[in-house]
């Protein structure tokens, strides 16, 4: 299906960029959740 190395690189790069961004969102979200727990406890 993907015979071309450049084709694979382009599609892979696209998804790597998107997943990296989503990863930062997930990390920020879990950090926020922890802060909310702290605030609720106090």
């Amino acid at each position: 299906m993907i015979t071309n190395g450049y084709l694979f690189a382009a599609y892979a790069a696209t998804w790597i960029i998107h997943i990296a961004y989503l990863g930062t969102l997930v990390r920020r979200y879990s950090r926020l959740k922890r802060e909310i727990e702290d605030l609720k406890r106090k």
Binding site: A9, A10, H18, Y21, L22, R28, L32, K42
Partner: protein
Amino acid sequence: MKRAFPILGILTAILLSYALYLALVGAPTEQTMGDVQRIFYYHVPSAWTAFILFFANFGASVYYLIKRCPKADIVALVSAEVGVVFCTVVLVTGPIWARPVWGIWWTWDMRLTSTLVLWLIYVSYLFLRRFSSSGQTPLLAAALAVLGALCVPFVYFSIWFFRTQHPQPVMGGGGSIDPRMLHVLLINWLAFSCFAFLVCWSRYRLETLQREVDEAHAFRSLTDDPRSNR
């Protein structure tokens, strides 16, 4: 409202998979460039999505300048961030496509160069948001967004004329497009637009939550009775 998100997520994932299948298998192979041309189905929709998001940033910023509505400010921030992500995809897939076809990684091609300048403008916008203190950020950012958006037509004109004086290889080719390829292109665009919408929605909710937490912190530090802390 909240239940819609997972449903839309699954639908988008299905749509993206179908679009990927079409791009790799369904679409006809191009004559001159071969399989590498399929990068087109990811490169162009990302560009269109980025432009739409930057336009949304402009609209939200103008609205904020007129109405001072905090939600508009969040929309502006979100659309700029996600727009930069999609713009980065364009700038990465562009050279990967150019290299096997024209033998060079970069050309001061009209579209690539304009996209680069757009990327620079909106990255500088994100820097302003990060470096300014939170009270005035929305206003300053909105002002910068308006200036940046006004700059866009000038970017296009200046690079267009520069290119007519110094001709360069055109990437993405001109001329008419095979209707089957157009079909695949539009499906991919639809899929990425849905994906972009979901990402923006998530980022919007995250930012709203972040601001509530910040307010809670500020409120807490104002009303804290020091005697109650052990």
